[in-house]
């Protein structure tokens, strides 16, 4: 095995033994990037010089015995988190030249933990998409089948881990943007509880839904990343002051006597039979480990997509108002007056999907429509949250497929936004309820495409997710397949 193929915990062992240096690990990652990046396109920007310098510093720390949780570990950052002095585009033309004068809180936390930043990962423009096809910088390709999408919006973060172009990465999840690409690329992805990981420095899409989380090669790595990411941030008003456990402790514990809720609304007609079969097989395996699976109902599930596509665009229409050509980013040339500058800048700067959502959101908030759309959606959102609260009184965790289908073909759904929106059908409710979710690989289709399933738990119960996902992973005996690139 090459170094770039290993997990964080495997590399940590080798670093502690002195078997490898941070420099060697980083070199190995960049060799892999040289080999496959042209075909996968995980990154918008590579930070090789910065990474090598950081690795050198890590090696000095290692020599002094100062080894932190991520010392020398190459990590990719979705290009939605602000990096001081490093262009941060959010996958958009309108921010193609934006250099933030500050770091996102997660960037500081990762940096303080010793991480080495490999590059800024590709994404759907402003995280609006499920396939990474709306990026201004071109699509990302699924390493398991380069004719297929990797999922989105954090597609680049998922493929960078799946193709071993980094060891772990950071994504953001507003309606499934971590879990869905994790499932389609065969890696582990977690969306933490709303308020668990700081949003400061995360370029906002839908502020009440956005949450940052990790992509990793296994569940233990997810726990390691969460130990670094989670925690209160005084720079964010919605950040929660709740104790953060050592998540790593929960990896490897058994799940005897656990109750797993299986929501009937998530095993619907139209779900891909191979996906359904893989998840059912996983259920049987979990039962073998002493867990009990019970049927539950989340009665308002059918409204999730509608509620999401009112609330998220409404918030986005306001969040994206600041991109007006006045202060930073793109400013269209040759404008006649102020209004013309706004119009030209935003017409040239935003892609179609972003424009579509700004228009939907603006409409939903307009005088005379607010009550029928935004207000009603907020009320139904409360019911959806209550569904989960009620269900989670009866079980420890909920299990569903992460996506209705495996990765689809590039271009297959770009002309049909509604079809595209359906690929987030199973992940959206989690964000509306504010609860945490983790997607773990649970098999492959006959055609060799990864399948994922997700566990959901109550607010701040990420520890339970780590425990059950790790228990499944350790006994599932998943074939250690790697994409052939």
């Amino acid at each position: 095995m090459e170094l770039n193929q290993l997990t964080i915990h495997e590399l940590q062992e080798k670093i502690k033994n002195g078997a490898v240096s941070a420099g060697q690990i980083t070199e190995s990652v960049f060799q892999r990037i040289d080999k496959v990046e042209k075909r996968v396109h995980s990154y918008i920007r590579l930070l090789k010089d910065e990474a090598l310098a950081a690795a050198e510093k890590a090696d000095n720390d290692i020599k002094k015995g100062n080894i932190k949780p991520l010392t020398g570990i190459p990590v990719a950052l979705k290009d939605i988190v602000c990096t001081k002095g490093i262009t941060t585009t959010c996958g958009s033309h309108i921010l193609h030249n934006f250099v933030p004068p500050y770091n996102a809180t997660v960037v500081e936390r990762l940096s303080d933990a010793g991480a080495v930043f490999v590059g800024k990962a590709n994404m759907d423009e402003f995280a609006m998409g499920s396939s990474t096809e709306t990026s201004y910088f071109g699509p990302t390709y699924n390493p398991w089948d380069l004719t297929r999408i990797p999922g989105g919006s954090s597609g680049g973060s998922a493929t960078a881990v799946a193709a071993d172009e980094c060891i772990a990465s950071i994504g953001s999840d507003t309606g499934g943007s971590i879990r869905q690409p994790a499932a389609l690329c065969g890696v582990v992805g977690m969306k933490p509880t709303y308020g668990r990981v700081s949003r400061f420095g995360l370029i906002a899409f839908a502020s009440s839904l956005d949450q940052i989380g990790p992509f990793t090669k296994d569940v233990e790595d997810c726990a390691i990343m969460m130990n670094v990411l989670a925690g209160y941030d005084p720079r964010e008003s919605t950040s929660v002051q709740a104790a953060v456990p050592d998540y790593r402790q929960f990896a490897g514990r058994d799940i005897k006597g656990w109750k797993i809720g299986i929501p009937r609304e998530y095993f619907i007609e139209g779900i891909n039979p191979e996906v359904e079969a893989a998840v059912k097989k996983a259920i049987a395996l979990l039962e073998k480990q002493g867990a009990e699976c019970i049927n539950i109902s989340l009665p308002h599930t059918e409204y999730c997509l509608a509620v999401y596509y009112i609330i998220a665009p409404a918030e986005a229409s306001s969040n994206l108002a600041r991109f007006d050509g006045v202060k930073y980013g793109l400013r269209a040339a040759a404008a006649r007056d102020l209004l013309d500058m706004y119009k030209k800048t935003r017409t040239q700067g935003f892609g179609n999907e972003v424009k579509r959502r700004i228009m939907i959101g603006t409409y939903a908030l307009s005088a005379g429509y607010y009550d029928a759309y935004y207000k009603k959606a907020s009320q139904v959102r409360a019911l959806i949250k209550r569904d989960f609260d009620e269900a989670l009184k009866k079980c420890d965790v909920i299990l569903t497929p992460t996506t209705p289908t495996p990765a689809f073909k590039i271009g297959e759904k770009t002309d049909n936004p509604l079809q595209m929106y359906l690929s987030d059908l199973f992940t959206i409710s989690t964000n509306l309820a504010g609860i945490p979710g983790i997607s773990v690989p649970c098999g492959f289709t006959a055609g060799g495409l990864p399948i994922g399933m997700q566990f959901l738990a109550g607010h701040f119960a990420e520890d339970k997710l780590i425990q059950i996902a790790s228990a499944y992973e350790r006994t599932a005996g998943m074939e250690k397949r790697r994409p052939q690139l």
């Binding site: 988190v81 500050y102 839908a206 502020s207 919605t238 108002a321 007006d324 006045v326 307009s366 935004y374």
Partner: protein
Amino acid sequence: MDFETVIGLEVHAQLLTETKIFCSCSTKFGGAPNSHTCPVCLGMPGVLPVLNRKVVEYAIKMALATNCRINKSCSYARKNYFYPDLPKGYQISQYAYPLAEHGYVLLDVDGEQKKIGLTRIHMEEDAGKLMHDEHNPVSYVDLNRTGVPLIEIVSEPDMRTPAEASDYLKRLHEILVYLEICDGNMEEGSFRCDANVSIRPKGQKEFGTRTELKNMNSFRNVQRALEYEIKRQQYIVEHGGAIVQETRLWDDAQGVTNSMRSKEEAHDYRYFPDPDLVPVIVDDEWVEKIRRELPELPLVKRERFVNDYQIPAYDAGVLTADKALAHYYEEVVRLCLSPKAASNWVMGDVLKFLNEEKRDIRNCPITAVALAEMIKLIEDGTISGKMAKEIVEDMYKTGKAPQDVIAEKGMVQITDEGALGAVIQKIIDASPNQIKDYRGGKDKLFGFFVGQVMKATQGKANPQLVNELLKKMLAG
């Protein structure tokens, strides 16, 4: 036709917190452009607002001082519109759940108390400023003011004349300054007012169509703009026209209001709850703590001055219009124990000097101690009231104590009966004709003799003593 005017006012007051409402930048006025900014108030991508609790505290003060009901929970909303002085493309304000509602302010209208209702008080952030190049088609944005905390105070349509509106504004202004939460500077824009005005035939219940007036930056302009606008509306109605609901700008130079935008052109602000901020919980304990720390308010102080110091309501009004002046007056009274005399000297001479130089009472060269000393010197007969007039002017110019001025000028009053008697005798001896006339019944000549004595003593003679002695000695 007889018309009745209906006026409601919206006041924006900048709060005197050290830092902005959602970041820790300074709120100081007049820094170099964009020197008081950070990624948060610049509206950069990914940054988040964190509420300055001091803003809520100050807003609660105003709510308590204007008899509002304070909501146990209030929240922030986004007001969406595009303008270069608004970096986020929305203003964080309050909408459905304001801090406080249902308050009132008391006015004195023709000797009777009138209640002007307050609809609500809410908190919000100020916008920046644009500067336009006079020679080139270029505009510059200064975001120093962006994020400076404001409270908006919305009145009910309870005012019936421009004078009432102006009076209401003065009362609000006075309260804000008393509370030390706003500097009240209208020229720098820390106290701003928009007016809604309509007319209706006397006796009609329904409101007429209103216009909104903006750009009035003094109490006088508010009154002038309203007077103009009422006349304009009356003219239209009397000539068979209809008032158009619109926003109009006051043109100070021309003394007119001009249409700025019609109702159709009005923005749809698309208010919705700001997901980046959590509701503000205002518990009773917090409110009571703030209530205990409230200073005495102008109206209460005014009543106390009338009752305790037995001075006329008018005097009490003048003396309490400024908290520092009221404090000065009370210091003088405490030291000299003569409330009426103190009121006369403060209102008459001291305020006149200050007003001439547009000086603030806080910078008055005559200390309260010095003024009290002077009043005591009058009362114990050391100096006459007339001498005091001269002395107080000197005290103002030099900042010296009254005793020092008196000593320098040799102005001590002659109260020695023997010495004064001798002076009078000399005058009597030198004025045989006048004595004859006086004793023959020309009483008016008494004044002549007083004048002579004062002249002979260079005004230093104690007037009462002069009167007494003259009466005795002239009688023969």
